[in-house]
């Protein structure tokens, strides 16, 4: 996929551009457009959650309602999937949900950048979830945690087959978690760009791809929310698995 040098490629939007070059001990940690969008995301979430609720109104204003809705949405999600023990992990799961949601949504703005469309970022988040959940399960159940790999109700002679399958499926969790978010963001944004590219090429008939891009944008907004939701709910389910083992 050597598309460098090619102008207006649909994948050009995913290119990481250095804004402030930083290099510490030979490691490149430059402030890039990706980092800028992360900072903007964090700033917007802080704005909503802190400034929106600064009046602590008994009858909330618009922004406070939005902040409370986000809070209750995630709180209900955790209660439904993990139960009351999940309350401890609420700050992390809330941060995860808001970070991905705002990252996805900001990526929908023209000329912006979607940091969740990069496998490095999604895989890093998935690995944090995976490692955290595994450590949580080990800390809570000790060696008994490995009974997670033995499906209940399976006869013993099936174990040599089932246990490797379960272990592979467990180990593939972070990969599927990371790939799902990354691929959805990548595919959606690429598709938008491809169809948008048809608009000037087709002249007057360009109205058709334009209408399609409009519809696709609405779909992408839904997917942006949905993928944040899926990432969060899967994290909750993994925590539930680690806490309750099946």
């Amino acid at each position: 996929m050597a598309i460098e040098g090619e102008k207006h490629s649909p994948l050009e939007q995913f290119e990481i551009k250095e804004l402030i070059p930083i290099n510490i001990g030979g490691t490149d940690i430059s402030f890039t457009n990706s980092a800028l969008m992360m900072v903007v995301t964090v700033a917007l979430i802080c704005l909503l959650m802190l400034v929106g609720t600064r009046r602590r109104a008994m009858i909330p204003g618009r922004w406070q309602v939005v902040a409370e809705m986000c809070y209750q949405f995630v709180a209900n999600l955790i209660r439904d999937t993990v139960g009351n023990e999940g309350r401890k992990y609420f700050p992390f799961i809330f941060t995860l949900f808001m970070f991905i949601l705002f990252g996805n949504m900001l990526g929908m703005l023209p000329y912006s950048f979607t940091f969740t469309s990069h496998i490095a970022v999604t895989f890093a988040m998935a690995m944090v979830v995976f490692t955290g959940v595994t450590l949580l399960g080990l800390a809570k159940h000790g060696i008994h945690f490995f009974s997670l790999f033995v499906p209940p109700g399976v006869p013993i002679w099936m174990w040599p087959l089932m246990i490797p399958i379960e272990i592979i499926s467990y180990l593939s969790r972070p990969i599927s978690l990371a790939m799902r978010l990354f691929a959805n963001m990548l595919a959606g944004h690429t598709l938008l760009k491809v169809f948008a590219g048809f608009v000037p090429l087709l002249g007057a008939a360009g109205i058709l791809p334009l209408a399609f891009v409009g519809a696709l944008t609405a779909l992408e907004l839904l997917i942006a929310f949905l993928q944040a939701y899926v990432f969060t709910i899967l994290t909750c389910l993994y925590i539930n698995d680690a806490l309750h083992l099946h």
């Binding site: 990706s34 980092a35 802190l50 609720t53 602590r56 808001m98 469309s117 490095a120 970022v121 988040m125």
Partner: protein, 164 residues
Amino acid sequence: MPQLEQIHTFVGQIFWLVITFGFLYLILWKAALPRVSSILLERQERIDEDIRRAGEFKQEAEKAVAAYEKLVADARSNAQALIREANEIQAHNAASQQEALTEKIKSDLEIAEKRIQNARAEAINNIQSVSVEVAQAAASRLIGIEIAPEEAKAAVTLAIQAKN
């Protein structure tokens, strides 16, 4: 695909992810979420408190209604007792008045009867004396005899008694 080509940016991406995500986590964990949670809790407490007070007020209102109804019922039974008493007094008064009136009428009647009897006796006496004189005068005119008053009187008395 830049995601897989710009491998030299991976460390930088993860570095900034950790920085921003960690910062956001701290802010939300320490400041924002406790605030939202306290707002929601306060509101829930307020709602519960209001519902509880509304229940109290309702009970009070029910008590007041019960008291009012008792008051009305008491007043009604009081009024009925008063009416009954008044009726009884009235009936009693009427009966005694009627009795007194009957007595008075009876006595009046007796007095009147006595007076009538007296009048009649007097009238009879008067008639006697007048009759004696009439008889004397009639006898002297008609047959030219002077009758002694005693004789005339006896004759008249006899005649009256015969008439009676």
